[in-house]
Symmetry: C2
Amino acid sequence: MSKLPAFLFYFLLTISISLSSHPLDPLTPAEFTAVQTAVRAHYSSSHTSIAFHYIGLKDPPKSAVLSHLHHPSAVPPPRRAFIIARVNHSTTHELTVDLTGNNKISDQVYTGPGYPIFTTKEQLAASALAVGHPPFLESVRKRGLKLGEIVCQSYGIGWFGEQGKGSRIVKVMCNYLDGTVNLYMRPVEGITVTVDLDRMEIIGYRDRAIVPVPKADGTDFRGSKQRPPFGPSVNDIDVVQPNGPSFQIDGHRIRWANWDFHLGFDMRAGPIISLASIFDVQKQKFRRVLYRGFVSELFVPYMDLTEEWYYRTYFDAGEYGYGSYASSLLPGADCPANAVFMEAYFPDEDGNPQQLPNAFCIFERYAGDIMWRHTETATPEVVTEVRRDVSLVVRMVSTVGNYDYINDWEFKQSGSIKVTVGLTGVLEVRGSEYTHKDQIHGESYGPVLAENTIGSNHDHFLTYHLDLDVDGEQNSFSKSKLETVRVLNSTTSPRKSYWRAVVETAKTESDAKINLAGSEQIDFTFVNPNKKTDVGNSVGYRLVPGSVVSPLLSDDDYVQIRGAFTKYNVWVTPYNESEKWAGGVYVDQSRGDDTLAKWSLGDREIENRDIVLWYTLGIHHVPCQEDFPVMPTLSSGFELRPNNFFERNPVLKAFVSL
Amino acid sequence: MSKLPAFLFYFLLTISISLSSHPLDPLTPAEFTAVQTAVRAHYSSSHTSIAFHYIGLKDPPKSAVLSHLHHPSAVPPPRRAFIIARVNHSTTHELTVDLTGNNKISDQVYTGPGYPIFTTKEQLAASALAVGHPPFLESVRKRGLKLGEIVCQSYGIGWFGEQGKGSRIVKVMCNYLDGTVNLYMRPVEGITVTVDLDRMEIIGYRDRAIVPVPKADGTDFRGSKQRPPFGPSVNDIDVVQPNGPSFQIDGHRIRWANWDFHLGFDMRAGPIISLASIFDVQKQKFRRVLYRGFVSELFVPYMDLTEEWYYRTYFDAGEYGYGSYASSLLPGADCPANAVFMEAYFPDEDGNPQQLPNAFCIFERYAGDIMWRHTETATPEVVTEVRRDVSLVVRMVSTVGNYDYINDWEFKQSGSIKVTVGLTGVLEVRGSEYTHKDQIHGESYGPVLAENTIGSNHDHFLTYHLDLDVDGEQNSFSKSKLETVRVLNSTTSPRKSYWRAVVETAKTESDAKINLAGSEQIDFTFVNPNKKTDVGNSVGYRLVPGSVVSPLLSDDDYVQIRGAFTKYNVWVTPYNESEKWAGGVYVDQSRGDDTLAKWSLGDREIENRDIVLWYTLGIHHVPCQEDFPVMPTLSSGFELRPNNFFERNPVLKAFVSL
């Protein structure tokens, strides 16, 4: 791998000492500490136990942010933190702390269904309990395993129709090292340890069956552990910018080429792109495209009904924290040599800020692609004009347990915002008696990938919250359906048919619930009905979908009731400050009563309003042997592409200078 | 733009002097000349006029090629040329010339429907006729245009149900320069000049209506013609390989990393990838994936019924030649600095070989992407392993008139073959009275893009011929349908549903006609039923579709009868040497009787046979103002991805050395 060029350190330095602030900046370490202090002071008794499950910026009102944008010298929007805490292991509190000096606090008890994000501390404690549990030691002994090589982790239990509010419970499942670091390839099956997190005690233990633990051989993915024969190698290759990157980072604001946006961070969502605007050369001004975009939820249900597996229906943002599980990016490997890195902060259970170095990388991307070209041979002299496609990428990798999600936000000079997620990491496999496919009788819930190893079938759904503001807040969602027109009179034309675009504007939410599969003859565009181009087209941004899938679980399945926001690939809702999390605020043991699917039952009006696009991409994953022991990246994504937003090609003049 | 580094010239030199030959090599200049001489000698009379419409390698029998591959020292397969010629402007001849010394010739007259690819010479002659035609001069005068700034081009007329075999006819349409090189933005509407190509005379002239010619302002896309204000610029960026590229080019055979394939060229198809095999590190041998892949046809029907537009239903391969319209690639712009270029040869109408420099570029691609990664925090020490994604790209750009198609074949070390086509270039627009959308009454056939400029709606369909040979010739096409399973007994599981994969093998062609839109719950895999992995899975390659569309023209529309091969995105046929061109061999004025849709009516068996995948990707293109005056690239593609082809992740050991 390449060495990091010296000039990059300069940039790292620039970023860390920058003092510019913005109303949407994530909380600083000092602010986390202020929150911690204020909340402790609020519960004056020193005997009060406080566990911080979430601390993040409380969104300032959109109107205040926009007003601040237009009048930067005026009073900035209020800066507040939003906190979800468990107090005395018994009640969930929603608090806000005013960070502008007075540390004023508000406190409300939440009594509805569901629980907040797990803390790392309680998860580790639950696992430690299991490993020290005498019946567990007996189970380990019976299996002939070494206790010191066992690694346990706790998982949310979901909801399966239970009445009444249950306790905060996790199930602890264990894996085995002993000769590998790839513990997910060595599940210790058959044991369920149930832990009450608030009481922090084991409330259930079951050793149902002994299943062979898959062997360590061939599972380790570390380079240092690989043995010959090796395949052919390739020569060094890298991206270079002799004059350095072309972007400026000012605090969390990033300016590059014709783009200007804010990059935030949240322990739950990960990266948050805000106020993305593009400079219109012809109009000589910045025009807004996206007020805010982020991953609202990830839903990863497994299709394995084995007793130790049926409840594995992960909500990675709402149960675990897509941001707090970000991995530190490895320079020169996770990102090219010309990348610049940014750190992030999130709180631990005690409210202490944790630094995550290299949480983001930002780099200019040149993949050898062509932004536009034409060769004209019909002219007196042959004309060839080609422009290279150079874009800007913001990357964060979130490793939620076994899977690594590579999140890219790519800004193109042509005006497109391309969002990509790459799935890699290791599978969650189930240990099994089977060593060959032919042994399978009945349901295996997935293919045999290696001896004693079943790759359980599962889905990945990522739901993006995309508050588009196409050249202003008031937008409409336009469906341009391509319809076949029959030519009835043969004297009109020798043709018998053609197609035309029939445009329809969604009036209410129910007009905008769309399964993209089967909708390939429709263009979906966010338009600003109040802004027209010179020749009269509504300015807009078009959604160019990537691979999409629909859920296959039954609507009445409790799992799907909780994940009902994946029912459609596209939903459009009126902007509502409180509607951020597609699966609800309290996702652990949620019951589907605070999801996008529920909110939009109101069938609210969405025409010429401030509206939000919810986009769900997905993959049905039937594992294959190539995914073992570590999975080659499988990508999916979508593009938001200008459509009559500009008067003409906005990059006609790119890479031209006098 | 970057300068071409000196070391690249070395590679160019290596390629041009290489003497290695391969049975699938395209014809050499000497072979074209031998064909020309042999065919001329065959028609001994010097008064015979011979027009070469196609000259290319006659495919050696597949069995002979494969046998040669296994026994390179044995007699190579016969080397022959296939020729389509028009003799004495009256008959179409199919000839073969034996190129192995004796120049033996066979000659057969073709009398069926349709005509061969147009030659450049006859197209230029037809245009010259039009420009010299007195009524045309009058039409130009009436419009107040300058004759010297008019550029005319000829277009195939299609077929609209006419009975009896018509003459070889084209229609000549004209555009205007006068202050721009972007002639397609300045159509001269209302005039139709009909030319008989064999007689080379005008057989029809009509000046129907005078329509304003859109102005030149703002249409020129040359960098030198752009005026301030300019947008922000970005710093230089390039891909470097300090030790040079890692691939070897030996004649037309390319070896890189774990891949080995042959890159051919054909005036009709453009690039042809053959015998693509991947080295299996575990098995220590090369295993074949693809016997041959190429673009079989492009179908671009316009949805404009205006008298001068209704017939514009281009078949870019069969009518014009996707290969002979390739553009010379611009180093440092069309391809990155680390690219190596290859030339190609195709014949002119007289049979003389024409050299096209820089027809292909080949380069290693590193876009900053991640091949695989994982961070493991549950281990005693945090483990992070990341592998960068470096792939090999073969690129050709074909500029068929106004559109530029960027054709990429990308070979990934992980075993994937990714095929991408990028659409750029300029639109074909229609001149119009309209200067604003609000003036439109009735059908406009597309949106207003600029004053007097309608962007006519149209489709792009690209049909790929993919003769997969997954680890051998005998393959099956497997459909793995994901089906919801209801859990009827609540004592079995708290879950009410899950999904499982139900695998079905296509028996005959009708089982494999698939519209991918709406088939997102099905995985399509080419498997070799005779080869199993150690744990018993059939080795296979999975089709990962990209954006797909279905045709919207009526089945009984003559246009769609000719383009019926676009009806499904996927067809699977038994390998048949004669079934190469999805739209038929003779596409000009074709009647749909020699298309993929017709062949497969036989419903032949396709299980455990040598089978071929036909994949059609497409775009319904409603133009937008950003496409004016030159269009930002819009890409589509698909991936062939190993699926239980390898025993495990084939790049587990990539970038590792002792």
